[in-house]
C-alpha cells in the first residue's frame, strides 16, 4: 500500500511512524494510515472509482477533495452520502461504494404500466434482473 505514498519529500521531509488501520471497501480489506481520509486511504491503495452515478451508472471518483462537489460520496457503516474526502478512516470501518438505482418512472421505449405499489415495483425489478 506504500506504492502510492510520498514517503520522502525534499521540503516536507520523511513520512515515518504511521499507524496502520484496517478497513473494508465493498467487502475487501485494505490498510490505511491513521489520519487518512477514506479518499486518501483508497487512493493510496490504487482505488479511484468510489461510486457510479445513481441513474446512468457512469463511474465517479474524487473530484474536489475538499468537500464541495460530493462526487466522492460513499456509504459508511450504513450511512449513505458520506464524503470520502472529509471523513477520516476508523479501525474496521465498513465502506460501500455508491450504487446505481432503478428509476421506475423514467419514460422507456416500450409502453409498460408503471408500478403502483412498492411490491409491484419489486416484482418488475426482480423480473428485469432475472430476465
Amino acid at each position: 500500500m506504500n506504492k502510492h505514498r510520498i514517503l520522502e519529500h525534499p521540503v516536507l521531509g520523511k513520512l515515518a511512524n504511521q499507524k496502520e488501520m484496517t478497513f473494508t471497501f465493498d467487502g475487501k480489506k485494505y490498510i490505511g494510515y491513521e489520519g487518512d481520509t477514506i479518499a486518501s486511504a483508497l487512493l493510496a491503495n490504487g482505488i479511484r472509482k468510489l461510486r457510479v452515478h445513481e441513474e446512468t451508472g457512469t463511474p465517479r471518483g474524487i473530484y474536489c477533495n475538499i468537500g464541495h462537489c460530493f462526487e466522492c460520496r460513499v456509504t459508511v457503516d450504513g450511512k449513505p452520502g458520506v464524503r470520502a474526502c472529509l471523513t477520516e478512516i476508523n479501525r474496521n470501518m465498513v465502506i460501500e461504494s455508491g450504487k446505481q438505482h432503478s428509476t421506475p418512472f423514467k419514460p422507456t421505449d416500450n409502453e409498460v404500466d408503471l408500478p403502483r405499489t412498492y411490491s409491484e415495483f419489486e416484482n418488475i425489478y426482480k423480473e428485469e434482473k432475472e430476465g
Binding site: 445513481e54 441513474e55 450504513g78 450511512k79 449513505p80 452520502g81 438505482h101 432503478s102 428509476t103 421506475p104 418512472f105 423514467k106 419514460p107 408503471l114 408500478p115 403502483r116 405499489t117 412498492y118 411490491s119 409491484e120 415495483f121
Partner: protein, 392 residues
Amino acid sequence: MTNKNHAEVAIIGGGIVGCAIAYYVSKAGIDCMLIEKGDLASGTSSRCDGNISIVDKDPGFDSLMSLASQELTAELEKDLNLPFEYRSLGSILVCDNDAEMEVAKQWVNIQNQAGLKFKLLDRTDIRQESPYFADDIPGGLECETDSLINPYLFCYSLIDKAKQYGLKLHTRAEVKLVSKKGDFLIETTKGNFTAKKIVNAAGVWSPFIGKMLDIEIPIKPRKGHIMVGGRQKPIIMRNVMEFGYLMNKFQRERIADSKTLKHGVALVLEPTESQNFLIGSSRQFVGFDARIDYDVVQTMARRALRFFPKLDDFNMIRTYTGFRPWTEDHLPIISEVEEVPGFYIAAGHEGDGISLATITGKLIEEMITEKETTISIEPLRYDRFNKNAVTM
C-alpha cells in the same frame, strides 16, 4: 397581420393557471397574449408539489372540479409535445391513529357513494405501498384516479403548444398600471399593451392587479415549505399525504404535537421521476416573507419521520417556500367581474392550483367564447364574497 402589442385577450400571470388559460384560449382561435413579470412558472408554480388530486376533496363540487381537471390533464398528456412527467398512479392518504382511521372509513364510504374510486387500505396494504412505512400505521386510503405532474414542465409544455396556436408571450414584463378606456391599456416594464379582455391569473399577486382597476380581490398569501431529497433508491411509487392534512384543511380536530399544529405541518411525500423526493408541507400566514423558517423545516422532518422512520438517513438537498393564494372558502375565483366588463379573475386556488389549473383554463375559455361551461361556475363567482366581506 396581428399586432404584437394588442390582443383580444391578455392574460396576466405566467404560472400554471395563466399557462393553462393561454393554452385553451389560443387553441380556441382567439388572439391572445400572456404577460408575466418574471419568467414562466417563476412564482408559486415552481415552488410546490405536483399532485392533481381528489383524495383530499370534499365530495360534491370540489371533487367534481378536480375530476374534470384530471380528465383534461390526461388528454393534454396526449395533445402536448413536451413531456411533463405525467403519471396517473393514484395517491394515498395515511392515518396517524385509530381516530383518523375511523374518519377515513367514513370518508371512503362518502366518496364511493359519490361514485369516486376510493379504497380503504389496511395495515397489509400499507406494507405493500412501501416497506419504509412505520410499523404502527393503522392504515389509510387510496384514490385511484389521482395523478402527478411536474408543474413547471407542464407550464413550459402548455406555452410551447399555445405559441403554436398563436399566443404572444411577454415575459419579464411587470404590470405597472391597468386602465380601461374602451380597450384595456396595460403598462408594463417592457412597454404598453392593449387588449379587449383581461384575465387576472396572477395568483397571490392578483390583488395588486385588481387594485389597479379598483377591484378588491380577497386573496391572501399562505406560505408553504417543501424539502427536496437527493437522488435515492425507490421507496414508494405514488404520492402520499397524511389524513391529518385533510382534518386540518376542513377544520376538523386533529391530534398532533403543538409545533405540527402551529405551523400547519402535514406529511406530503412525492416521489419524482428523477428519484428525488419532495417532502412537505406547511401552511402559514406570514405575508410575503419568503425566508425559510427552520423551525418549520424541522417540524416537517419530524412529521415525515413519524410516518417513514426508516428514512432518517435520507439526505435533503434543498428547501424552498411558495405562496399559496388563499381564499376564505378554499375555492378559487374563476369569474368575470361585473363592475369592470371584460375583466376576469382566475386566481385563489391555494394548494389546489396544480389540481385545478386545466379546468380553470378550460372554464375561462368557455366564458370568453360564451359557451356552456363544463361545470357550474356559480360557486366560483367573484361576488360571492360581497355578501360575506373578508377582512384583509
